[in-house]
């Protein structure tokens, strides 16, 4: 261990920080990741980030994680990984340097310096973001002309759109394709109420035996395109059902000579004449 780091040994850092009111309030959601926490801690040391005491920082971070774990049991794994790594780095900084440095490991001081550098980089970007944010911004602080009157527009050769738009357009379609579902249109049925009303209107004309297929409306007719409206089968079926209801009411007679033969309908004339059969 070099002397450079000895003066910075300060195991009471956290306690002091608490006393100074500098301790971080544990707020995992406020920090996006370990680096952000480290940066926030480092800033509280109020020194040039490159001259940062990594030992002090490690102490503070470990305390932070300790505290955070108490508040939030499911502390993100990367916070813990960073904590253990910092503990390791700290131990290496504190231990006397081996005579024969291990070949595959950089000196601890160097790693510490790089961490400090990395924090300085992030800090620079944070400041830059703040700098950008405080610049006069269009439509917030400065304004262009509010009322560009209608000027004759001539389309230019320039085409609007960027690669991102192209990708989005592509994906929008491919995902549509991937999740395309087949939804058959439900066949429309000829409503029973409508069939009943129509049949009632037709009663005066049904004074002779008329085949059911002649009574049922033809609608758009067979082979009509587009599946608009109920099918012929639905017209026939609904008319038959309505007919049977009218038979039950005694307003209509129905007959079928044998199974599968045509069904004939006729208005019931006398209250006494029986119905032959109902299909």
């Amino acid at each position: 261990m070099t002397d450079t780091f000895q003066p910075n040994l300060d195991f009471n850092a956290v306690a002091n920080a608490v006393e100074d009111g500098e301790a971080l309030i544990v707020d995992i959601d406020g920090y996006e990741g370990p680096l952000h926490v480290l940066l926030a801690l480092a800033r509280s040391q109020k020194v040039d980030l490159l001259q940062l005491s990594i030992l002090k920082l490690a102490e503070q971070y470990l305390a932070f994680v300790q505290q955070a774990r108490r508040a939030q049991f499911s502390l993100a794994a990367d916070y813990l990984v960073m904590a253990s790594w910092l503990a390791y780095l700290k131990s290496r900084l504190l231990l006397p340097k081996p005579e024969q440095p291990e070949a595959d490991e950089a000196p601890a001081e160097e790693i510490a310096a790089r961490l400090a550098f990395r924090l300085a980089k992030l800090d620079a970007m944070r400041n830059a973001a703040e700098g950008l944010r405080t610049r006069p911004q269009l439509k917030r602080d400065v304004f262009g002309r509010g009322d560009p009157e209608a000027i004759k527009v001539i389309p230019s050769g320039r085409i609007e759109g960027d690669l991102y738009g192209l990708m989005s357009a592509y994906i929008a379609q491919r995902t549509k394709e991937a999740s395309r579902t087949y939804t058959p249109a439900l066949p429309k049925a000829y409503p029973l109420e409508e069939a009943r009303d129509r049949l009632r209107r037709l009663l005066p004309e049904l004074d002779r035996w008329t085949p059911l297929t002649g009574v049922a409306p033809f609608g758009p007719g067979p082979g009509s395109s587009g599946g608009q409206g109920p099918s012929r089968a639905s017209y026939v079926a609904s008319t038959l059902s309505a007919g049977l209801e009218l038979v039950k009411e005694g307003a209509l007679e129905a007959r079928q000579l044998e199974a599968f033969a045509d069904i004939y309908l006729r208005t019931k004339k006398a209250p006494n004449s029986g119905k032959e059969s109902a299909a």
Binding site: G144, E160, L166, A169
Partner: protein
């Protein structure tokens, strides 16, 4: 700066940024009570007299407008970039990723019939070209993108089109896609493609030959 000069600046900025003409009262409402709006207007009118932009009163309210004698300048002032329709954008994307692709294949991906106009627009804008003919019955024409397309989208080659991983990284691909979802590699040149015949479309033919080498 004197108060009067400052008020003049304020009125100038307000009139410039306002969506419509402003009356004296409109201006006074936005300025400190002591501000001399009429004085500021008079000052501005003098300052802008004879300039390319003038301060005029319309229906009792003030606005800046370009000088009448410069109207001839304003005809082609605003260059409106040509906006691709949604259909065109989608068709272009399919051509880009699936080239060489036939019209029928475009329709298969889009799930709708490609209107003749959509491809025509892209051909006319030189974003898409006829590449050749597919060696299948009917020998349908295949389409691909042009150098102008690459230029517009800042791509060095069609191989640089973002792949599935990058789409996922950009948050465009949701996770519930089928596992075998793949984005085709437009670099894989269609082996089942013939060059265009003479007379198919001379201008594109030349293009095509030029790029084959």
């Amino acid at each position: 700066m004197s108060d009067a000069a400052y008020t003049e600046r304020e009125v100038e900025a307000l009139l410039f940024a306002a969506a419509g003409p402003l009356s004296d009262a409109d201006l006074a409402k936005r300025l400190p009570e002591s501000a001399d709006v009429a004085g500021a207007i008079a000052g501005l009118q003098a300052r802008y007299a004879g300039r390319g932009v003038e301060l005029v009163a319309v229906a009792g309210r003030w606005r800046f407008q370009t000088a009448a004698d410069l109207a001839w300048l304003m005809t082609d002032e605003r260059e409106e970039p040509r906006r691709l329709s949604r259909a065109a954008q989608e068709t272009l994307a399919i051509v880009a990723y699936h080239q060489p692709v036939t019209r029928a294949e475009i329709e298969a991906v889009r799930g709708v019939q490609a209107s003749k106009g959509t491809l025509d627009v892209l051909l006319e804008l030189s974003l898409v070209r006829m590449r050749g003919r597919r060696r299948t019955p009917g020998r349908p024409i295949t389409y691909g993108t042009t150098d102008a397309f690459l230029e517009h989208y800042g791509l060095a080659s069609v191989g640089d089109l973002p792949g599935a991983a990058e789409m996922r990284a950009a948050g465009l691909l949701s996770l519930d896609l089928p596992a075998d979802f793949a984005v085709p590699d437009p670099n894989a040149l269609g082996a089942d493609e013939d060059p265009l015949d003479e007379g198919d479309a001379p201008q594109f033919h030349t293009d095509f030959l030029g790029e084959e080498t």
